[in-house]
């Protein structure tokens, strides 16, 4: 019986580990690769990487927001708006702004929409869900109206390179994620972010600038969405007023899958990376297995549900361990 209990213990320890989702990703690859060797071909791995980078960028911003106990539904609309406005500015009839200038405008615009979200949430004391739902509808409607629902093509090479040259995109993403990670774990603001998510009243009484911290999280989220928009627009060589529309639930799902709590106070950038990686690989693997789109969505839904159940069990178990 001894080896069994040892194995049991190992299993238990493993479910407690924060690398669980990463481990599951590896298992998934090992399980699926024999059936579709294509999964681990260089071409496909590049494909997975270029697909997950923008997703991870947005999810990084979402992680910061979710740690404060909020949610940002407006990220995909920010992607669409910054995409079409950046493209318009770079096009000949729009003024022919150099691509660096356009990127700067896009990032500022994304951060500004985030600031408005944050201001409405903190000043008017409205729930984040409603505020960002409203701004999602407004901003995406605005993007469609601006372009009269037309895509914009013919973007300058220097701009497209950001999304198409994998090393550049990878470097940008890594820098952003590293910065977010360091902010969370090594700065006063990061610690405050968690405190605000767990108990804003106690944080306020303890001297944390709760409003500023909350607004900053949404600014960061808007900024991340705009950066993702640069990569996405570049990759597709097209600016579109509906760009990224289908990504929202994947982003929230991946963040939650990683272990970041929707109730606030708990989350890590590394967890989110694992969540995004897992969901992207799962999507890709099921695609390669020639499953239909609806069964892929169905599987993703099931996996996210399972992750939530596992997480709930994990938290419950932790609380009951005798001190």
């Amino acid at each position: 019986m001894k080896p069994l209990s040892k194995a049991n213990n190992l299993l238990l320890r493993w479910t407690q580990s924060e690398y669980l989702v990463l481990g599951l990703t590896i298992l998934l690859v090992l399980a699926v690769a024999p059936f579709t060797p294509e999964l681990i071909s260089t071409g496909n791995l590049r494909n997975i990487l270029s697909y997950m980078l923008p997703l991870f960028i947005i999810a990084t911003g979402m992680t910061l927001v979710m740690i404060t106990g909020g949610i940002d539904l407006s990220v995909t609309s920010i992607i669409a708006l910054t995409s079409v406005i950046g493209a318009r500015l770079m096009s000949h009839d729009g003024g022919g702004l150099p691509s660096s200038g356009a990127v700067l405008v896009m990032l500022t615009l994304g951060a500004s929409v985030g600031a408005l979200n944050g201001a409405a949430i903190t000043m008017l004391q409205l729930p984040a869900f409603i505020v960002t739902l409203a701004s999602m509808m407004f901003v995406s409607g605005f993007a469609v109206w601006l372009t009269q629902s037309k895509n914009i093509y013919g973007l300058p090479e220097s701009f497209l390179a950001l999304g198409q040259r994998l090393p550049i995109a990878l470097a940008l993403t890594a820098a952003l994620a590293l910065a977010a990670h360091l902010i969370l774990h090594r700065t006063v603001a990061g610690r405050w972010l968690y405190a605000v998510g767990i108990n804003p009243t106690a944080a306020h009484i303890s001297g944390a600038p709760v409003r500023t911290i909350t607004v900053s999280a949404y600014v960061a989220s808007g900024f991340c969405a705009a950066l993702a928009s640069v990569l996405l627009t570049g990759r597709l060589e097209t600016a579109s007023p509906v760009l990224g529309r289908e990504l929202l639930l994947d982003i929230i799902g991946a963040t939650a899958l990683g272990g970041t709590s929707l109730f606030g106070g708990r989350g890590k950038i590394a967890w989110t990376l694992f969540g995004v990686l897992f969901l992207t690989v799962l999507d890709n693997a099921l695609n390669l297995l020639n499953l239909s789109q609806f069964s892929i969505t169905l599987t993703k839904g099931l996996v996210i549900l399972l992750a939530a159940v596992l997480d709930a069990l994990r938290v419950r178990f932790h609380i009951h361990t005798p001190a």
């Binding site: 006063v188 603001a189 001297g207 944390a208 361990t321 001190a323």
Partner: protein, 519 residues
Amino acid sequence: MPPTPTPSTASKELLSLRDVEKAFFGVRVLKGVSFNVLEGGMLGLVGENGAGKSTLVNILGGNLKPDSGTIHFANALYAPRNPQDAAHCGLAFIHQELNLFPNLSIAENIFLTRFPCASRSPFIRRSLMHERTTALLRQVGLDIPPDRIVQGLSSGERQLVEIAKALSLEARLIVFDEPTTSLSERETARLFNLIAQLRAAGLTLVYISHTLSHVFQLCDDLVVLRDGEVVASGATSSFTPDKLVSLMVGRTLTNLFPQPKPNTVGSQGGVPVLEVRDVSQPGVVNQVSLTLHQGEILGLAGLMGSGRSELARMIFGLAPFQQGAVRVSGEVIHQLSPRNQIRRGMAFLTEDRHREGLCLDGSVADNLALVTLPQHGQPPLGWLSLESVRAAVSRIRSVVRLDTKANDTQPVRTLSGGNQQKVVLGKWLLSQPKVLVLDEPTRGIDVGAKFEIYTLIQDHAAQGAGVLVISSEIEELIGLCDRILVMRQGRLVDDLPRAEFNRERILSAALGSSLEVTA
């Protein structure tokens, strides 16, 4: 079976526990607990936090099953599978944290599980329900309409509603678990009257409390629990307060309060660290002025709603006031906010540690470091020196003598009440405040932890800080303070130096009866 004539003294037991055992994850929290509760009697159950009282209540209430042992209630084996079972058998519980739905009316709360309906229809007969509720409320001495939403009731009123609910369920035994923690003196007196009426009506009561004076005043018999064992039981008259406390803590505390330290700075000659001048907010506080000196422990007494906590919140920038000024170390503060006050050397321990004091799901270390984080961050980015944070946390842990079994990374939620309060006090002491404001610093914690907190307060004052202590327990203020101020209806009505400390005088000033002091 023919009815056997019971002795006229009615000393038959209603509830009887035999060798009740309970363990969690291998840790025995109840070790063969046995005792009886006599029919029509009132039993006091005392013990420190963690002695096993809550587990016992949870077993009686059907929330937990004992591992072994038997319980008899009214001569029948009693093994409730759930709280409904317990209620059905005739047990009712008045908990520390009340179990009412704040968004429903009084009547709806009372009849929630069995709304009176017209036969076989889903429609509630509201008029009947209200009629019955009014009658029940009259029984507990509460004169408010039955359709009032519970949200707007005071904690004392909510408790009476709970008791009315127990009566409506025709309970034979009511367990009161820390019923006076959130009550003012007046509400407590009203509760005690009601308890006397309940006893006169023949109900059997079990009373759990940390307030030993109440236990002595109310109970016929006592059972003392320590570390899951019954260490003593018997008639209340066979105990003295000192004996009871030493039984509870398992060691002899010479006194409930530490000896006052020789006041090195002296409250008279000391430099004022906090000055409040004519602070007014309509309906809350009226023209309040007070001065807190270096090294002084100043007590603020008063009933709940007298404006004492409200005043503290104003001083700390948590509540607005229309007129007046607050000076910290001689400097008038214009923009009051917790952030600004902390920068100026103030600290404020609020009365509700769960809602306002702690990030319950956060770790012990994160909670301890929360207030002083900026000190460890390097501008402009606030880059933290993890080493100095860790050093500060371990230093303050030993200062407040936090349970050494508690891990730095453990969520504060998992600590006992006393240790949680030490975490809150610790995070404020780390900021080395010149002005320390404490609102109910020992609420709901056990005797041993109380003593340690008093010692910490005295030590901090001896180092030259001014301490303002708000408390509902007059004994606590008398034992701890150099001077006591009394508030009533938003005004300061009395000011007593240590030499004049007198329980009667403080109480009557707070209540506004005969001995009124002209301001």
